[in-house]
Amino acid sequence: MSIALRELLRRPGRFAPVVVAMSLLVVLLVVLGGFLDGLSLSQTGVVRAHEGRLLVVAADADLALDRSRLPDEARAAVAEVDGVADVGRLSQVTTTARPDGGELVDVVLVGHDLGLDAVPAPVGPGTAHVDERLGAIAGAPADAPPAVGPQDACCEAVGSVLSDVSAGAPSVWVGHDTWLELAASIDPTGAPTTQVLVVEPAAGSDLGALADDVRAALAGVVEVDVATADEVVAADEVVAQQSGTFQGIIGVTFLVTLLVVALFFVLLTIERVKLYAVLKAIGGRSPDLLAGLAAQAVVIALVALAAGGLLSAGLVALVPPDLPVVVVPGRLAILAGATVATAVVGSLLTLRRILRVDPAAAIG
């Protein structure tokens, strides 16, 4: 085992301060990443549930689904296009629900026609598939009727859906006709209509070509944009701006991590100038010393990741369920890799000092 790793094992206390500082920075990074993913995932769940399908949106809505209004005849027109296996309506509105025996909570009421991987097709009028969290948030049984909207109307809960398909609040999925009735009671001034059409492509269809055909079929009815779920998510300005902001903040936090590691290793190097002079005098090279520092940086980063990871898990568990924090494994892996890389780069900022150590200083 190298000299550097032996030092870590035999003198762990020396490295404790930087491990503590880095662990906290890891917690900050995980929480920031959690907010980044939580915000974007929680706001786009309804759209992402439609992966593999096309979404038809009024052109003046700029792919913002809740601003889109489509006429009733659009659905029939789309159904006649070659390559369309099925077409259904999709609309959503924010409202409240009071599950039987529970408290009033914010929900997103989603009206749909088609079944999805994540959401079964509507069973019938007056029935709903309810977010699995709703009961817990409201303090009610999981199968309690959600009692949606100002009139506490609707529905019988016939099943649950994962909270992945939320849109800023727990979701309640009902048949679209039911949705139209409920939306009218929620906003009497709004005159609710279909917001989006969902196109289920026939097997083997080319989505791009199908999108063009659908657009053309609706040319005489209403001007539309036809997009995939990913395109709609990417077009969400609010989500894009939030993501950009948080990514910038995460970048700055990595810079702070780099500086903290660099600071620690600079101080360590200063303290060990004499030792480095001796090692150089007996034949050690600068690359040997730098490799040792880099190895220590990797170990420190790994320990900080473990400690910070545990702390983050605890912190996230304590965060109230309505705060949008979602820890995604992919993001954690990226953060972990970037943390190790940052620590290594930080340790190598001692390069100049190491090169300047004069082996002759070991004598006399």
């Binding site: 035999r10 001796v278 090692l279 005098a281 034949g283 090279r285 070991a362 004598i363």
Partner: protein, 224 residues
């Protein structure tokens, strides 16, 4: 061929706008198996001579030859290699790596420069520790050893790579007279056993008799 040869070796340092001549055209040779004692007051150039002999610095002019190979003009990497493979240092303040055991301090020399502490290295380390009467202290950290024991570990480290030349800087300065003499006697034994050339810088008159030859330096020159 001498183990070490200095030919008109000169070393100048610039201090502000003044030039200090630390070594003034010195000629010196040390043969294989010879134990040379280098004495002189502070500032006489002894340490500078040691740094040139140890490829720790290059002369301003003149040459330094180690077993016939020119050391002046070597690049950093080449000089490090020479120090690693052909020169053994025993420093004034011992300078063991404080978080390595006695055995690991010896093995560290083999791991420098991309090397490995293989079986042969471990056997050699154990053999040296045995010769230095430290076999039962092999697993102790320097902080757990006495002053004399630490100095012996330093000698073991210096001999680990079977050097052509041993350079010893004030080995007794941190030890009492009894221990100090013991350490130099040990050095003497190793020089005789291995036939390695050695240069010892010291102020300590009490150990001078253990050398084969005494050279005095004053003001950067060897006193005739």
């Amino acid at each position: 061929m001498p183990a070490l040869q200095l030919q008109a070796a000169r070393k100048e340092f610039t201090a502000g706008d003044q030039t200090v001549v630390a070594l003034d055209d010195v000629d010196l040779h040390v043969d294989d198996g010879e134990f040379l004692v280098l004495m002189g007051p502070s500032g006489s150039g002894k340490t500078t001579l040691l740094t040139l002999a140890g490829a720790l610095a290059t002369p301003t002019s003149g040459s330094v030859l180690l077993a016939g190979d020119e050391l002046s003009g070597l690049g950093d990497a080449a000089a490090a290699r020479v120090r690693r493979e052909r020169i053994g240092f025993v420093f004034q303040s011992v300078n063991l790596v404080p978080f390595l055991t006695a055995r690991e301090n010896l093995l560290a020399v083999r791991t420098l420069g991309g090397g490995r502490a293989d079986r042969a290295a471990k056997e050699r380390a154990d053999q040296l520790l045995d010769e230095l009467d430290l076999a039962d202290r092999a697993g102790n950290l320097p902080g757990e050893l006495s002053g004399g024991q630490r100095q012996r570990v330093a000698i073991g480290r210096a001999l680990m790579n079977d050097p052509d030349l041993l350079l010893v800087d004030e080995p007794t300065s941190a030890l009492d007279s009894v221990l100090g003499r013991q350490v130099v006697e040990l050095l003497r034994e190793e020089v005789d056993r291995r036939g390695v050339a050695a240069v010892m810088v010291t102020h300590d008159e009490r150990v001078v008799d253990l050398g084969d030859r005494v050279v005095e330096m004053v003001d950067g020159r060897i006193r005739d």
